[in-house]
């Protein structure tokens, strides 16, 4: 049925997602950052389609692109342009160091968890059709490692947001 090899689709989706998220972080204009974030989210939705979970993909688009990006856009537009320019010019050492520490800790954590539990990961790649109610038990009994990695990612994002939002004096 498919005309292109699945690896190529995977590489394209990964490129869209990663380049989108890098642009979202690096964009000088915050609006472009939000648009790049939306493109990155659409790439993630493409992964869900690729993994035979179209429902999840549609919800990803409706909630993340349709609601969260709109929220971000709206917040950015409420901030005056002048204050945005000041923010991009700010060059202090503190945030960068904390970010590096966080990224390093995260990398060590993920690598450690993966190394400890890597051999125990279930190997069957056949997606089983599960009722939604059994999603939770399967997640904590069969796939605890990805769950822990996700939790680490989320908590580091939360810590990073705290650092960014900290008002100096």
């Amino acid at each position: 049925m498919s005309l292109v090899p699945p690896d190529l689709i995977f590489v394209i989706l990964a490129a869209v997602t990663i380049i989108g998220s890098i642009l979202a972080l690096q964009a000088k204009e915050l609006i472009y950052g939000a648009v790049a974030l939306a493109i990155s989210f659409i790439g993630v939705a493409g992964f869900f389609v690729f993994l035979d979970a179209p429902y999840l993909a549609m919800l990803q688009i409706a909630i993340y692109v349709g609601a969260i990006v709109v929220l971000i856009l709206f917040t950015v537009m409420l901030v005056r342009r002048g204050s945005l320019d000041e923010m991009t010019d700010r060059a202090e050492g503190g945030e960068g160091t904390v970010g590096l520490w966080l990224a390093g800790l995260l990398a060590i954590g993920i690598a450690g968890v993966a190394a400890l539990a890597g051999p125990n990961l279930p190997t069957d790649t056949q997606p089983a059709s599960l009722p939604v109610s059994s999603l939770g038990p399967v997640l904590v009994t069969q796939y605890p490692v990805p769950l822990i990695i996700l939790a680490l990612l989320l908590s580091s994002a939360l810590l990073g947001a705290l650092i960014l939002a900290k008002v100096d004096k």
């Binding site: 049925m1 204009e29 609006i31 648009v35 939306a38 179209p54 429902y55 549609m58 919800l59 688009i61 409706a62 692109v65 349709g66 609601a67 990006v69 709109v70 856009l73 709206f74 537009m77």
Partner: protein, 343 residues
């Protein structure tokens, strides 16, 4: 799937096989590109004609054909050759790119709209969720375009449009929920097939009303056209658009009008079902044009409502009515009354 050609003599049969394949015909001709363009152009003429009749005018007349039906082509040619004026200090990439994205997003959901048993491009299992996921991107596009215009009136209009569309998505989705429960499927083809004996407008009448009012707010049609209120905001979020940009925006908006009307047809009015003397797609298009007429007529009849009325209708009327119909649907389904009606 046709085998790829190996010798030069195979190329012509290969091309013919591709062009006559069902996938190509559905994408390019019938529910796809050409049909969409023709219907969208027809709708612009049709709306002007209806409004003219309501206001005792004649409307477009001189552009050839009966009743000036070639007017959209003349308008299109005129708009393409006009200058595109980009406002001072506007965000050029977004200002020029968003109209294209808007047309693309308005055309994309037609891939899952079933115009007949076999006249659907992609028979997707999550069809209705796909339509809602794509249409939920419209407010973001409109806000971005309004912001990129770098002008006060478009920005105010864009904010109003964003709030209005996001707020009225909620009753629209809940109204759809009862139809999904009645059909037991998110697939639009299955939903229409489930209406072979009884159109869903009968068991889910309140949902149909709520859905209809919600799509009028989604489409920014009168009486919900606060985002383009002429006395306050000049023309709302497309004030600064001109030439081809204006044409693309209007193409997207009228395509969305056709999309929402076809959703009403597929969800509540039995889709392609009708007496057999006309083919299925013709029934679907007739019903859709009828719904579009119902959406257009209030523009010539009603005044614009105020912002507080908009909020009150959305949150304390439509949402509650949609929930009531949801509970009625659950009651009908659980007591098995609907089974005796042939569902």
């Amino acid at each position: 799937m046709v085998a790829l050609p190996t010798t030069p003599a195979d190329i012509l049969p290969f091309v013919i096989a591709i062009v006559t394949s069902h996938a190509f015909i559905t994408i390019v001709f019938f529910p796809g590109f050409i049909h969409l363009m023709l219907i969208t152009m027809f709708l612009t003429w049709y709306e002007r004609k209806i409004l003219a009749r309501i206001q005792l005018r004649i409307g477009p007349l001189y552009a050839g054909g009966p009743g000036g039906i070639l007017q959209p082509i003349a308008d299109g040619v005129k708009l393409i050759f006009k200058e595109v004026m980009v406002p001072y200090k506007a965000d050029k990439p977004l200002f020029l790119g968003i109209p294209l994205a808007l047309v693309f997003l308005a055309a994309l959901p037609f891939a899952v709209i079933p115009f007949g048993q076999n006249w659907v491009i992609a028979n997707l299992d999550v069809g209705i969720v796909f339509v809602f996921a794509v249409t939920s991107l419209f407010p973001a596009m409109i806000l971005l375009f309004a912001w990129a215009s770098n002008s006060k009136y478009p920005f105010l209009g864009g904010l109003r449009s964003l709030f209005q569309q996001v707020a009225y998505e909620i009753p629209m989705w809940i109204a759809t929920l009862s139809v999904v429960m009645l059909a037991g499927s998110l697939n639009l083809v299955d939903i229409v097939n489930a209406q072979a004996k009884l159109w869903f407008i009968i068991p889910a009448f309140l949902s149909c009303v709520v859905f209809f009012i919600s799509i009028m707010a989604e489409l920014e049609r009168l009486p919900f056209d606060l985002p383009e209120a002429e006395p306050e905001l000049v023309a709302g979020w497309y004030t600064e658009s001109s030439g081809a940009i204006f044409m693309l925006l209007f193409l997207g908006l009228y395509m969305k009008l056709y999309l929402m009307s076809s959703l009403v047809t597929a969800l509540f009015l039995g889709g392609w079902w009708g007496p057999a003397f006309l083919p299925q797609p013709v029934w679907f298009i007739i019903k859709t044009i009828f719904v579009a007429t119902l959406i257009i007529i209030p523009r010539g009849v009603y005044p614009r409502i105020r912002v507080d009325m908009l909020i009150r209708i959305g949150w304390s009327r439509l949402l509650i009515i949609a929930l009531v119909n949801l509970f009625v649907t659950i009651f009908l389904l659980s007591t098995g009354i609907l089974a005796s009606w042939g569902l």
